[in-house]
């Protein structure tokens, strides 16, 4: 069944690049996710925040894409934070230990304003 197609929009919030993700994060999200990341780091921010509120499905390929994005951010010495994850995907981020390397926050304000480096 064709699910909701992946999309990503980038905006700035207090100098932090916020990527609003929506639809399904699967193999098809590869290019759009990469492009959104490129755009978000255009002004060389220290932190990139991923908004998962509009995401309804992440499969293992989607996890791999997020791992790839995180790997790149670490190489560039950027911090990645996330908010808007459903309880189920919070659990998956915990099981995969993604949340050890990416701060998970309850909402956008706390993700953007967090001072503790993750």
């Amino acid at each position: 069944m064709p699910g909701a197609e992946f999309g990503a929009e980038v905006r700035s919030h207090d100098g932090t690049g916020v990527i609003d993700l929506r639809g399904e994060i699967n193999l098809g999200a590869d290019q759009a996710l990469l492009a959104a990341y490129e755009q978000a780091v255009g002004d060389d921010p220290r932190t990139v925040v991923l908004n998962f509120a509009g995401v309804d499905y992440i499969n293992s390929t989607g996890i791999a894409l997020i791992v790839g994005l995180l790997a790149r951010a670490r190489k560039e010495h950027r911090t990645v934070r996330a908010f808007g994850l459903s309880e189920h995907y919070r659990q998956i981020f915990a099981i995969t230990r993604l949340s050890d390397f990416m701060g998970i926050y309850a909402d956008e304000d706390s993700a953007v304003s967090a001072t503790v480096s993750t």
Binding site: S60, T61, I63, A64, V67, A71, H88, I92, T96, R97
Partner: protein, 535 residues
């Protein structure tokens, strides 16, 4: 022959005449309606119009055609066939010109142009209407299917009787278009137990309702009458008046005295049960007409005594009458042979289903419900703990194309909807189903759409089980390893490789089996969370 779709056969109207442009514009022409003219698909006029290249003068036509007479009677002078992609889809009918002059060459050209433009638009409208009707029909069928399943499952036993010294096992697998199978265990006086296996002719909601009625009648009458022949006689009398036309119920009813092994039985046209004994396989034959066909029927009652080690198989015809791709039947002799080979009832049921799957081949829809009940006498004290009956909730296939795991997720979610699986556990099961299906599509079937991924959803009182089978039997099953996230983040490993690890962490138990052709992963989720089972 080209035929006019039935929904257009009535769109035959007398249109306002075509006004020559030179005529002064007066009051708008009066619209004259004539009754629609029916044209039979085999009327020679249809073939004539299909081949016509433009407007046709009805007066000049010479054909032995009832429709032509009808058109003339309706006052039609000129007909412009609407043809789209070589198919006649309608007619534009015109009466005489008001000026009483003949239609001019300009008139005809205008009409032919109009027909050329209108025909594709009319065809599109027809297709849209047909498609909408199809969608409505499909939705109605799906809804009926769900209702039938709901009724059916309501009346199947949720647990098997616990009889010391006896092993009881049961399997019920509905066909997609739910048939009318049912089985039941009824407590009787003096520790006896009634065993019912039945099958209602027809499918869907009507069959489910008759099944529910039969179930209730047997439950009410069995404890009172006990004797199998009397119970069936009474059930037949009550059902004859209630039974919709062309429907009836076949039913085997047996009464077991667990202490002596005495089994009394009567049969209303149902499959003959097989008994595996030390001396070989025997049949439990007794004659009787199906229930609900004719009033005043008598049912022969017979009895057998089951010895230690004997196993009885009661079965509906969904098993023996299943067909393979060559339209060969699985067959009763095969069921009898397999009954004789199995060591106990549970093994027998597993073996029968496995043999059936091998026989029908992958991706074949089950034709009819399958119900199997076994009853085995074991040494006293060697009572097998009462197992709970496994019910099949859904069986379907998805083609091996990327993204189709969502199909599997949605259908599994729908199948388990009535089980009361708590939200987070349902989400975990869905993720596991998605990942296992993805693996089957990608690694098992190499993304070849013609290879099906087979999904079976079943449940007993404790667990829901989802079995996902691909056609890549020869590949080995990789060990589940915890991915090394540090290495992946450092770019030392591929970021991929999460599927199996995720599956294992989502469900309560994970089992895989491989044979020469197939690879099956079974996902087991407890219906209720067991404390400490998982963090």
């Amino acid at each position: 022959m080209t035929t006019i779709p039935s929904n257009l056969r009535r769109v035959l109207r007398r249109e306002p005449r075509v006004r020559p442009t030179t005529e002064p514009v007066a009051a708008p022409p009066e619209r004259v309606e004539t009754p629609p003219v029916e044209i039979a698909p085999n009327d020679p006029l249809v073939a004539y119009f299909s081949g016509a290249t433009g407007a046709v003068d009805i007066g000049a036509l010479q054909l032995d055609s009832p429709a032509l007479d009808g058109l003339r009677e309706a006052g039609i002078k000129l007909v412009v066939p609407l043809v789209s992609q070589g198919e006649l889809i309608g007619l534009l009918n015109l009466g005489p010109r008001r000026s009483e002059q003949e239609y001019s060459a300009d008139d005809r050209k205008l009409l032919n142009d109009l027909a050329g433009h209108a025909a594709p638009a009319v065809r599109v409208a027809q297709l849209v209407r047909e498609q909408e009707a199809e969608v409505r029909q499909r939705e109605r069928i799906e809804q009926e299917l769900r209702v039938a399943q709901l009724i059916q499952q309501q009346f199947l036993p949720h647990e098997l009787p616990d009889l010391p010294g006896w092993q009881v096992a049961a399997y019920y697998g509905p066909a997609r278009e739910v048939g009318g199978d049912f089985y039941d265990f009824i407590k009787l006086p003096d520790g006896q137990i009634g065993i019912v296996v039945g099958d209602v002719t027809d499918k869907g909601v009507p069959a489910a309702l008759v099944m529910a009625t039969t179930h209730s009648i047997l439950r009410a009458e069995a404890p009172r009458l006990v004797a199998p022949s009397q119970v069936l006689t009474r059930a037949n009398e009550l059902l004859v008046d209630e039974m919709p036309a062309h429907m009836f119920v076949t039913c085997l009813y047996a009464v077991l005295d667990p202490s002596s092994g005495r089994l009394r039985y009567a049969n209303a046209g149902h499959n003959v049960p097989y008994v595996s004994t030390e001396a070989g396989v025997t049949e439990l034959r007794a004659t009787g007409m199906p229930l609900g066909l004719l009033p005043g029927m008598d049912y022969e009652e017979k009895e057998a005594t089951l010895a230690l080690g004997d196993t009885v198989l009661l079965h509906s015809d969904g098993l023996a009458e299943a067909h393979n791709g060559e339209r060969e039947m699985f067959g009763f002799p095969r069921v009898a042979t397999l009954t004789g080979e199995a060591s106990d009832g549970e093994v027998l049921i597993d073996r029968l289903l496995k043999e059936l799957q091998e026989f029908t081949g992958p991706g074949v829809d089950q034709e009819d419900d399958i119900t199997l009940v076994t009853l085995g006498r074991r040494a006293a004290g060697a009572a097998v703990p009462a197992a709970t009956a496994e019910r099949q909730l859904a069986a379907f296939v998805v083609p091996s194309a990327p993204g189709n795991e969502r199909l599997a997720i949605d259908q599994v979610a729908e199948a388990v909807a009535g089980l009361g699986l708590a939200g987070p556990r349902l989400e975990r099961l869905k993720t596991a189903v998605g990942e296992a299906t993805m693996n089957a599509i990608e690694h098992g079937n190499n993304n070849r759409p013609e290879l099906p991924v087979e999904v079976v959803v079943a449940a007993d009182d404790h667990d829901v089980k989802v079995r996902i089978t691909d056609q890549g039997g020869e590949r080995s099953i990789p060990e589940v390893e915890t991915p090394d996230l540090e290495a992946k983040l450092a770019g030392l490993q591929t970021p991929r490789g999460w599927g199996l690890f995720l599956i294992q962490n989502m469900v309560d138990r994970l089992e895989t089996t491989v044979n020469q052709h197939h690879h099956t992963i079974e996902l087991v989720m407890h219906l209720k969370e067991v404390p400490d089972a998982r963090s």
